[in-house]
Symmetry: C2
Subunit: 110 residues, 2 copies
């Protein structure tokens, strides 16, 4: 999924589920098949597939089917969108604090 099409709503929705974050942590250690992902999570294969679909649609995971095995790996686009979301907010606050500082400086100068 190209970065431009990442929907931040979907990214937050995907990340607010602890099982989906556990899947991401597992994939952080390297690509993995769906069945190997399901084993330690103590949930059904169907549930894992559903979680993976949410993660894939939000640009946090990519999956590829080779023969009968679907392999999943981290997709960085969703994470980059999340980082950008925070960066945009931080720069807004910093700009505001700068303006406040300028205002206080100009009042002192009067």
């Amino acid at each position: 999924m190209p970065k431009a099409r990442i929907n931040i709503d979907r990214v937050f929705h995907a990340l607010c589920d602890p099982t989906r974050r556990a899947i991401l942590d597992k994939l952080g250690a390297g690509p993995c098949s769906v069945s190997r992902l399901a084993a330690p999570l103590d949930i059904t294969l169907t549930a894992v597939v559903q979680h993976l679909q949410v993660l894939e649609e939000s640009g946090l995971v990519q999956t590829e089917k080779l023969g009968r095995v679907r392999t999943c790996r981290i997709e960085t686009a969703g994470f980059s969108a999340l980082e950008q979301w925070i960066r945009d907010r931080r720069s807004m606050w910093e700009r505001r604090l700068d303006q406040l500082g300028d205002l206080l400086d100009s009042e002192e100068g009067e």
Copy 2:
């Protein structure tokens, strides 16, 4: 709320609601009273108070009551915890890619 006590589960839960993200964006422009926050959001004061409670418990907002007016402002601790969560994951992937690179280098050298 001190940074050490931020619960990342709560941060994600708080951020996955678009109204709560709209509240944060509004507060990004500067501190604001609860009633001024509620006006453009087209939701009841009670609903805003509930959203603010979630945001406060997750370390994204702080509120202070002076007389009859409760003023809300951005609290950066929750955002810092979120940034740290992403940084930890990125460093895990990068370490893995480094190890993979080392392995390929050593195989080439054999």
